[in-house]
């Protein structure tokens, strides 16, 4: 049994079958990549895992509990954090404030009317946020307005925000899409470091083969909403069906 079990998931948008009978099992403490050409249904699948979309049929179990019908914030509180295709951070807030918010969510839950003590008096939160910023190599940017960070640093911050919650499953949707090479390598290094240093399961959707093959332990290939094969990176590289559906297209 994997930490994440997807069984028989179907999702239609009008006449379009975006997901057709998807089965997927992600083993605990592995990096599992989901690849496939544009429009294959990768983002749709991910949205079904985090409560943004509800599948028409099928089940999604996380750690033995169904996530279906729960709001995104409830699913996050179960231990799933998500990184978006374009970094979603609090652009009007400083880097430090960005980092403190998930720490509050972890400590106080989905809502807490904490209106009288000052933020400065929350020593445990400050300490936690500072140590994660340290880990992310962003301590020197703590007072910066987060909207003025580079694309790569925004991604780094977003990943840090997710990690500060110590999620059991981290979901990443094309974390390097639209990034310059340097930022991409930067992000790969960060993810490698996370994978080596922490007990965490990572499911990553990626278009960029370089990223996939340098990180993943298992790969599922999705084409037209249905998983074609699931295997190790070495076997995927040589798989004829995959070449046909995916690699052939990008080569």
């Amino acid at each position: 049994m994997g930490i994440l079990e997807v069984k028989g998931v179907n999702k239609r948008f009008g006449g379009l079958q975006a997901l057709g009978d998807v089965n997927l099992s992600v083993a605990e403490n592995t990096v599992h990549a989901i690849i496939g050409p544009n429009g294959a249904g990768k983002s749709t699948l991910l949205n079904c895992l985090v409560g943004k979309l509800i599948p028409d049929t099928g089940s999604v179990m996380f750690d033995g509990q169904s996530v279906l019908g729960r709001a995104p914030y409830e699913i996050n509180q179960m231990g799933i954090s998500r990184v978006f295709q374009t970094p979603e951070i609090f652009g009007d807030l400083t880097v430090m404030e960005n980092m403190m918010i998930p720490c509050f969510a972890k400590r106080d839950g989905a809502f807490e009317l904490n209106a009288m003590p000052s933020v400065g008096s929350q020593k445990d939160i400050i300490e936690r946020a500072e140590s994660v910023l340290e880990d992310m190599n962003m301590a020197d940017k703590r007072h910066m307005h987060s909207a003025s960070l580079s694309r790569g640093d925004k991604r780094r911050l977003e990943i840090g925000m997710c990690l500060s919650q110590e999620p059991r499953l981290l979901l990443l949707d094309e974390p390097t899409a639209g990034m310059a090479r340097a930022d991409t390598n930067n992000t790969i290094d960060l993810l490698k470091q996370i994978k080596d240093e922490r007990d965490i399961t990572i499911a990553i959707i990626e278009h960029d083969m370089h990223v996939v093959f340098s990180l993943a332990e298992r790969i599922t290939v999705l084409a037209q909403g249905t998983p074609l094969v699931e295997d190790t990176p070495e076997n995927i590289k040589g798989h004829p069906k995959v070449r046909e559906a995916y690699l052939g297209e990008s080569a």
Binding site: A71, Y73, G91, I101, F104, A110, L113, N114, A115, V119
Partner: protein
């Protein structure tokens, strides 16, 4: 002390000094001088300054922090006034129960309206609040005022009559709103040479309450809750995927700002024991939006400045009529005098809205951060100038602070 940092403490101190000394500050011109009409230090207007200050400070907790623009906050102000007058009618003219009930009822009412309106965001939220406020206005104006069930006394407005129960009204307590016997109307006038300064009990009650309200707003701004509200404004999607439920945060902000509005409405009734439906009209809701934006939404002091500014204009500019203008420009040749008066005429007196509208446009276009941004730019400019002056005299550059 107070759990504030140094900067906030000095801000609070400045506000305290300005409000306590307002009778002097607002009456700079001798009573008999031609400029006396610009004096704003009379009890009525000073009370309005601080009451609308409270209203705007509360509104800013919702609008400034979460970005949710309510067009219906006057409804809570009106509900506060009606509740307070009912307390006068049923219990006594003591303002304490009146103000407490005003805050509680406005809080409950905003819980209801907020719960429904916050199912939408952006323009739809604004429209919903507007619709609710106009419904409340209609209810107060006609529906809830019929011989069988007269809650609001319709067009006439709710007031205290001789045959009202007033079960706690003591035999020799003042026959007007009072604080344990101290009448809200009692005023001591201090005359110094040609100057006169009014110290009014009602004003000081409002001023002290405003300082408490302002202090609580600072605490909210600096709290984890305040940070969450700013996060709502910045990125709700990220909040949801960070395990935070945005709905109760926005609802709490809505109710808090509704309670501030109710407090302002209660104080209004405490200064003048009368509540009318026009207090709930959409123009009144729009006014607090203008105050907040003009002063600087999302800043602490901005809404207070905006409220003072607009109330000053409403009461002072509106009094400048043609006679006054002719007086000012009497030194000009006759034809020219008439011409100048004709040009200025539309902008003063009844036309003060025109001036206010123009100023509002200028602020929104050139100072999106409102008067507070204007002040900051001015301060930066002065500092820059002073530093330059220093460079010239000493002949060497000072290290930056």
């Amino acid at each position: 002390m107070f759990g504030l940092d140094k900067k906030d403490k000095s801000l609070l101190a400045i506000v305290a000094i300005l409000t306590l000394l307002a009778p002097f500050i607002l009456n700079p011109f001798p009573t008999d001088s031609a400029m006396a009409q610009f004096n704003a230090g009379y009890p009525d207007l000073m009370q309005r300054f601080v009451i609308f200050g409270i209203f705007a400070v509360g509104f800013n907790i919702l609008f400034g922090l979460t970005g949710y623009l309510s067009f219906g906050h006057a409804a809570f102000l009106g509900v506060g006034s009606y509740s307070a007058v009912w307390m006068f009618k049923l219990l006594s003219y003591n303002i304490i129960p009146a103000i407490i009930l005003a805050v509680i009822i406005a809080g409950l009412f905003s819980l209801l309206i907020g719960f429904v309106s916050l199912r939408r965001s952006g323009i739809y939220f604004s429209i919903l609040t507007l619709a609710f406020a106009q419904m409340s206005f209609a209810l107060a104006y006609s529906v809830l005022s019929n011989p069988k069930f007269n809650l609001t006394n319709g067009e006439t407005g709710l007031q205290v009559y001789n045959d009202d129960p007033q079960i706690l009204q003591g035999a020799n307590a003042p026959d007007l709103p009072h604080l344990f016997g101290l009448s809200m109307r009692s005023t001591y006038t201090m005359e110094i040479g040609p100057w006169a300064f009014d110290f009014n009990a009602g004003y000081y009650v409002c001023a002290v309450i405003m300082m408490v309200a302002f202090y609580l707003a600072i605490r909210i701004f600096r709290s984890p809750f305040g940070m969450m509200l700013r996060a709502v404004k910045s990125n709700q999607q990220r909040m949801n995927y960070t395990g935070l439920n945005t709905r109760p945060y926005t609802l709490a902000a809505f109710v808090i700002s509704g309670m501030y509005a109710g407090l302002a409405g209660g104080l209004m009734a405490a200064m003048d024991p009368l509540a009318g439906a026009e207090r709930m009209q959409w123009t009144a809701s729009g006014e607090v939006v203008l105050m907040t934006i003009l002063g600087g939404a999302g800043t602490l002091i901005g809404p207070v400045l905006g409220a003072g500014f607009i109330k000053y204009f409403e009461n002072i500019f509106s009094k400048i009529n043609d006679n006054v203008l002719h007086g000012w420009f009497a030194f000009l040749p006759d034809g020219l005098e008439d011409f100048v008066v004709t040009i200025i005429h539309p902008f003063v007196g009844k036309g003060w809205h025109l001036t206010l509208g123009l100023m509002f446009m200028m602020v929104v276009i050139f100072l999106p951060g409102g008067l507070v941004e204007g002040g900051q730019r001015l301060a930066a400019w002065v500092r820059g100038k002073r530093n330059k002056g220093k460079d010239k005299t000493t002949g060497k550059t000072e290290p930056a602070e």
